[in-house]
């Protein structure tokens, strides 16, 4: 950080970023944003139950976390739901993006608005709607794993695929339509144009959309909390029930694992997008 480094040039009138007060505010804001999370991660390695005073480094709580059957089941449930959500959301998102990108049809504005609804309505409203829906249609409970995760997965797909659609559509916007026309002139049918021309172009968007759907599903608490039956527990729901009792190093360890997982997935997504932008730029 160049916060304290001396810069020989005098501060220009518009060099707001070099003014002391603004730097102080930015530093404080970042401290405010990061100190709690970093504290949480640091104290997951603390050799004390009291969680406030540092007593030495330990990985005991991670061992405990991986040996805690309830937590591991919840973790497995979350990953299973997230994977199923990712697959279905990416396909549905791609289809939505394709329709909105390619066609003009009556009621398109309404259709687009409808697709944006799951993104804009408050989570709690969607949560209770799903809860009522599954109760009302008599969705079977007590099914064997993994079918007991069905209702949560369905709800996750319903809110994740419109997000995926937005990401994929953004990628389609810079597709050269003439390429598709060329392929058609050269005798390819609809399906081949889609498979050999459109999908390869969409690929970075598909990957980004898939990773977004994965993290959305993995992180969701509110909608899952209302959709889940008593016997199906996901990782955030499990953490929630632990948090309600007290602040313990086990919860810190579990949280750290989830933070790392999300961070890794998002970093891959960003890296892929960045790399593609670079390739796109160098190609022109």
């Amino acid at each position: 950080m160049s916060l304290f480094r001396r810069n020989p040039d005098p501060i220009g009138p518009l060099d707001y970023a070099r003014r002391f007060w603004l730097r102080a505010i930015v530093t404080l804001t970042l401290f405010f944003l990061y100190a709690p999370i970093l504290g949480l991660i640091a104290f997951s390695f603390n050799d004390s139950r009291r969680n406030v005073v540092w007593r030495g480094f330990t990985t005991d709580y991670y061992v405990k976390f991986f040996n805690n059957e309830g937590l591991m089941i919840a973790f497995g449930n979350s990953l299973t739901i997230a994977l199923m959500t990712t697959v279905v959301s990416t396909i549905l998102g791609a289809l939505t993006a394709y329709v909105l990108w390619r066609y003009r049809f009556p009621g398109k504005a309404v259709y687009e608005g409808g697709m944006a609804l799951p993104i804009v309505i408050p989570e709690i409203c969607m949560g209770v709607a799903m809860m009522v829906f599954f109760a009302r249609i008599g969705w079977p409970t007590g099914l064997p794993w993994p079918f007991n995760l069905g209702s949560i997965t369905i709800a996750h797909i319903a809110f994740a695929f419109p997000f995926a659609a937005i990401v994929i559509r953004a990628r389609l916007e810079n597709f050269n339509r003439e390429l598709a026309e060329c392929a058609r002139d050269l005798g390819a049918n609809e399906y081949r144009v889609f498979r050999d021309i459109v999908v390869p172009h969409m690929k970075p968007g598909l990957i980004a959309g898939a990773l977004l759907a994965f993290t959305l599903s993995l992180d969701d608490f509110v909608i899952t909390f209302f959709t889940a039956g008593p016997e199906t527990v996901t990782f955030p729901v499990k953490i929630y029930s632990m948090v309600r009792f007290s602040v313990t190093p086990e919860v810190n360890a579990a949280s750290t694992v989830l933070i790392l997982l999300t961070l890794v997935v998002t970093t891959i997504a960003l890296w892929l997008q960045n790399r593609n932008n670079m390739i796109g730029k160098s190609a022109h």
Binding site: I37, Y103, C125
Partner: protein
């Protein structure tokens, strides 16, 4: 873009699956609670649809009106604090060097990808009775007392024994938590608006003798107004509908509207009333979004001039 009739078969194959999912697993559930909001509860589990407005009338009772008002007030306080904090941050980011700007933006967005529940839990560890803030204060107080004992004023004569502050389970904690989770929502639109701003206006204002404060209020704020409005709406909507933050950080009197909805569906088991409250929250959300759309359209017109 081509007309759908040119390749009707492809159009239908592609549009049917996502539409089916949206309608079956989103529109129908929402319509279901919309119908519930006009129903009456006739037994423990029996609900009859009789198209009455009594659930909405009940939402207008002082108790629930008060909670609505409280949600709006807390969301407004959150938005105001976010705006005041975010403006200098956004200015600093916009006027940084490009590499630094990228890093700062990344640092502001990064907390977004951390689970909301975990971020709220992290705040509990900071604010609770033996959390980081209280432990820090205790350390300061005991050490100050120890230092004062050298001049004969020790043993809590001036600064008394440390009593932990009650930082958790009240409205302040909820607002603190809401600011913590929604700060990036405000920084990003402000950044986008300030980034588009033509700097020669600022230079002209400064050259003509206006100070930085005056330039800020007469040039920067009016030009960034659409971005400010957008940031306000984007921060306000999730804050007003938030469930987890008041649930975990708030006390018994910090119930916000989402918590009441949840309790109607879970503990109180009064689905029609919960449904009516959900729809009132949704209407409020749509109103805020419509407001934003109008403001953004104004900006679009402004660009053409």
């Amino acid at each position: 873009m081509e007309n759908w009739k040119n390749s009707a078969r492809t159009f239908w194959t592609v549009i049917v699956p996502p539409t089916f999912w949206l309608v079956t697993f989103f529109i129908i559930p929402l319509s279901l609670i919309w119908l519930y909001s006009f129903s009456s509860k006739t037994g423990v589990v029996d609900i009859t649809l009789d198209w009455n407005l009594q659930q909405y009338m009940r939402a207008l009772e002082p108790l629930y009106l008060g909670i609505f008002w409280k949600s709006i007030w807390m969301a407004a306080a959150t938005t105001a604090i976010c705006l005041v904090v975010s403006f200098p941050v956004a200015i600093a980011i916009v006027f940084s060097k490009p590499t630094m700007r990228m890093w700062l933006l990344l640092l502001v967005i990064l907390p977004f990808w951390t689970n909301l529940l975990i971020r709220t839990y992290a705040l509990i560890a900071v604010l609770r009775t033996n959390g980081f803030i209280n432990s820090g204060l205790e350390w300061i107080v005991t050490h100050a007392d120890w230092a004062l004992s050298f001049i004969g004023l020790g043993d809590n004569t001036i600064i008394g024994p440390f009593t932990p502050l009650q930082l958790l389970y009240n409205n302040t904690a909820v607002i603190f938590g809401l600011v913590y989770v929604s700060l990036p929502f405000m920084v990003l639109p402000l950044y986008a608006a300030l980034d588009r701003l033509d700097r020669s206006y600022l230079e002209a204002s400064l050259d003509l003798g206006a100070g930085h404060t005056r330039t800020f209020f007469t040039i920067v704020v009016p030009l960034a107004l659409p971005g400010i409005a957008s940031g306000i709406v984007i921060t306000f909507i999730p804050a007003m509908g938030s469930y987890l933050t008041p649930d975990l950080l708030g006390g018994t009197d910090s119930y916000m509207i989402a918590n009441v909805i949840a309790s109607q569906f879970k503990q109180a088991n009064n689905w029609p009333f919960g449904a009516a409250l959900s729809f009132l929250l949704m209407y409020a959300t749509f109103f805020a979004l419509a407001l934003r759309a109008v403001l953004m359209r104004k900006e679009g017109r402004g660009d053409k001039r």
